[in-house]
Symmetry: D2
Subunit: 318 residues, 4 copies
């Protein structure tokens, strides 16, 4: 959820006002998973061997793509998110080398917030008034030393069908304008334009907006607004039981938020309400150029115990 905080600053006033109108409505916060009361991995349950086998058949050219952008101190991220790396040479002070073949080596230390660069939002990331996926209460699993449930280390191996929706192409532009929502009409329109027949259970759906072109050129615009998934679109994808949804933007969902919608309500619909993971800052430009619309999507997030998110670099294979 890169730079989300920035947005909050600007949207929270309006959002809280909007909140007033809803104040009398009782709000449902616990959404039991359809995958069973102990489930911690959501719609990744739909990535079955049958699904993987079918997805592998989408590989017809052998070209693979890395979807990750780089994570470093200059990657746009809102305060207080910070990143730092240090390179060290343990035991080699003053030019020492090890043994007769003079082995030398570098090691590395990282210090920073996981939510910088390409990232996977795990099911422990977003909740509804403190209640997360499958009715897990933050107070019971979000320990200061690591999540005791819904951690990233629990994510199963991912190899499934990926679908890329070229929204920039759909809107006939290079960079889709901020605040443009992708709902049912836009999703089905893009599918039709690209000849994609269906979105199916267990799929990974990626949106291409051209937004990453702004990185390093207009970081402020990049990180404060974005085109993206709308509330209707999120519900539409949830009904199709996809496993993950991603985009080449910092936060997937449309910002400013749609009228009368909550703050990051799309995140709520996907993560706690439906067990659908979110992929952010996915680099999809080359895939669009190659018209790689349907492909084998693979991802193994590093298994840091108790982590909320992961810095990722999925591999798409066409």
């Amino acid at each position: 959820m890169n730079t989300k905080t920035a947005v909050l600053a600007s949207t929270i006033a309006a959002a809280l006002l909007a909140g007033a109108a809803h104040a009398q409505q009782p709000q449902q916060t616990c959404f039991p998973s359809r995958h069973g009361k102990d489930d911690q991995v959501g719609n990744l349950n739909y990535v079955t061997p049958e699904k993987t086998l079918a997805a592998a058949k989408l590989v017809t050219k052998g070209k693979s793509y890395r979807l990750g952008i780089e994570t470093n101190k200059d990657t746009p991220a809102f305060p207080p998110r910070t990143w730092s790396i240090a390179i060290v040479q343990p035991g080699q002070v003053h030019g020492a080398a090890l043994g007769p073949t003079k082995t030398t080596y570098n090691d590395d230390i990282i210090m920073g917030w996981v939510g910088i660069g390409s990232q996977l939002d795990g099911l422990g990331h977003i909740g509804i008034d403190g209640v997360y996926y499958n009715c897990n209460k933050a107070a019971e699993f979000a320990m200061a030393g690591g999540l005791t449930k819904l951690g990233i280390e629990k994510v199963p191996p991912i190899a499934t069908r990926g679908v890329l929706l070229d929204m920039a192409g759909y809107f006939n532009t290079d960079i889709v304008k901020e605040g443009t929502p992708f709902n049912r009409a836009e999703i089905e329109g893009a599918m039709k334009r690209q000849g994609i027949k269906s979105i199916e259970r267990g799929d990974v759906v990626l949106f291409h907006t051209g937004w990453t072109k702004l990185i390093g050129k207009d970081n402020k615009r990049y990180g404060s607004v974005e085109p993206g998934l709308g509330v209707g679109g999120a519900r539409y994808l949830a009904e199709r039981q996809v496993a993950m949804v991603g985009s080449d933007t910092w936060g997937l969902e449309v910002v400013p938020f749609e009228k009368d919608q909550g703050v990051f309500e799309v995140h709520q619909i996907l993560l706690p309400m439906n067990g659908i993971y979110i992929l952010e800052n996915m680099e999809t430009s080359e895939m669009v150029k190659d018209q790689a619309w349907e492909f084998l999507f693979t991802l193994g997030p590093s298994r840091i115990t108790g982590a909320v998110q992961a810095i990722i670099n999925p591999i798409a294979i066409k």
Copy 2:
């Protein structure tokens, strides 16, 4: 290169003595890459679309495996390597939630050494007297704030043929004894036993030794010795022009080192001399049970700019 330092403590005295005998020999430190003078990715150049396409055809069952073990403060790692994670809830002090739909969220901060848990040794990790892959001198690229060459962010997308050699099966044991070297005879013996016809250019070769069974049970033994690749075996695989070599041990190569061999000389043969990456702490038990000997191996290491290593979780698909 998890817990390598531990080993150094015990082997360095012997190694330095051994060094005396070699002291008069001039040593070659610069090995120009066969991939061109500007190359930074080594034998991953052999992972071509043709290679990927052929590897995708190895998927016949659709079962996928995650090869990563977990990274946390208890994962065996020698001092001074440390790991820590903290979970935070920015902007939600004292129970605040965002907007009318009451969005709450967790974020995470990591602080630690990259070489803990399952890891990829990049081409900037190991050198020969300060000279690394393709004759790059540490003084010119190993900056304290990040590698300026050979960093992990440069690794291309990886989708290639994987071959698993079941050395525990070959030696008819659960856990191969420490100090057991895998050289040509053992590699070809395991291949024959498993019906693997060849090791080919651009392959990823993994060894299964049963060693990870020791984690949490005998961390000291786990991290101070290991069975593994010998110098002859490393040269054999280098001749076959593989892209990566890995194992279910902390350091891939046999420890104690073979007689008359250098300290981590196998690492030197693979990384700086041949541009072959190393994968450590790969969890391969389930694959052995399923006899998943040849498969599609995929890996996209998180693109942390200037990093030496990566915490990884490759996905193998059979």
Copy 3:
């Protein structure tokens, strides 16, 4: 507030039960400071030049004492608090030195929680239901990237009268038993025994219990219980308008808590209700041996902007 979390685990059940009885009472959370509505430094306002000048006259022998214990990864601290340091030699890879006089240098990186070892609890550390010193609400100043009020950087220079109360001597023991509360009777009893005539406005009061003798020998006991200041004693010192109170224990106040008292209620009386700072893990053994009861106490906490606590090493001069 070192290892406090540990205690919470064992005391919270009882505390919450106790809470039931109080549930009907309205609770005051905002205690306006007597130092003015914008004040952020509490009773350190009482450390005036007159006070400092008088305290300097307590120096009669010239012997100085460092009150800090060491902070490292083995210093007792409850999970998830962690500590790590790394030493680096930037720009000196492979034995390089700078210039004709061959300058070399070491640098250091720290990663960890501030609440480890000797520490100063700032006024932003403890609150009453989210309200901190001088009625500051956490939601308004406890930002994830640093406190915007009550941060440690605001602490003025401290040079004032220090008084050491030898509670181990008072109880005629080496190590005062855990759960022993220090209230008015014990404080005045110790003063009388040591010939200390008064505790005055702007003083720093330190308790010696012998507790640090347990460090490295029985860390579990050290960090889960302690003798210390009781609720009555805290009110007594607050009435005397002291500036700081400290002890040679991890958390100053008596644990288990006194009957019918809240969880860390002594912290609440001192910090948010009275603007009195807390000093923890103060090494006072040598001072007791020298009977250094009244002295010049000096402290300049490192001015890390927005920090809650500080790792400290006050100097007492007799």
Copy 4:
């Protein structure tokens, strides 16, 4: 040694050229301490009770000064030095409070390089071709996980005579020009102007240049050059056997370096050759205004085990 690396970038070429001229001279790297072969604290041995007692008598007004500037991510520091702090509320997710009195609390995590802001350079900071104070070789004590000798935790309590030399006043300017060296003539001239009769064994000598006025206004100038101590001045102070030397600049010594002098040779003269500590980024403006020329200087650096430097905030009392 804040932002030193920046300077190195610009001076190293010249320095290395200069080095050529010296290349034939044998260089002494080991300077045995006059305090004994096991000594690790250098001239702080001169801070005896007699010295402290005399210094305490310098307190005539009771006014105390904090010499520390703030350390945060915006404090000028050259890459790769970075700083980050995070505020957390363990166990208080979603508004939980502890017990009947509803205790809440903030904790803090720091991640960064120690050499940012006001700092103490310990005796393990600077060496001559890998040899540090009292002939200690880096290879034997500068372990990656912390110094095993010369660490900051060994610094004794410091309460001694401080002398402030107002070089801005001496040069009749607000901010002394970069590259202005302070050698014997300037030091004695400033003393005479201020009526300071002597610099004595065990003293702390501070220079005021006005340089900190540039922070936040011209960070580039601030951190790339500076007026400061020259080689002759360093030798002069070393002969007087002072304990520490500091300034209101990032690196104490004059930059650009004096003609024919080494890279940070003043650091070498003070630290490894004479056991004299260095204080950087000392805020002395208010003291100059008050003409607080001779005073009681107190410092207790936080005792982080194995640290090279310390983030400090000394207290001067007049």
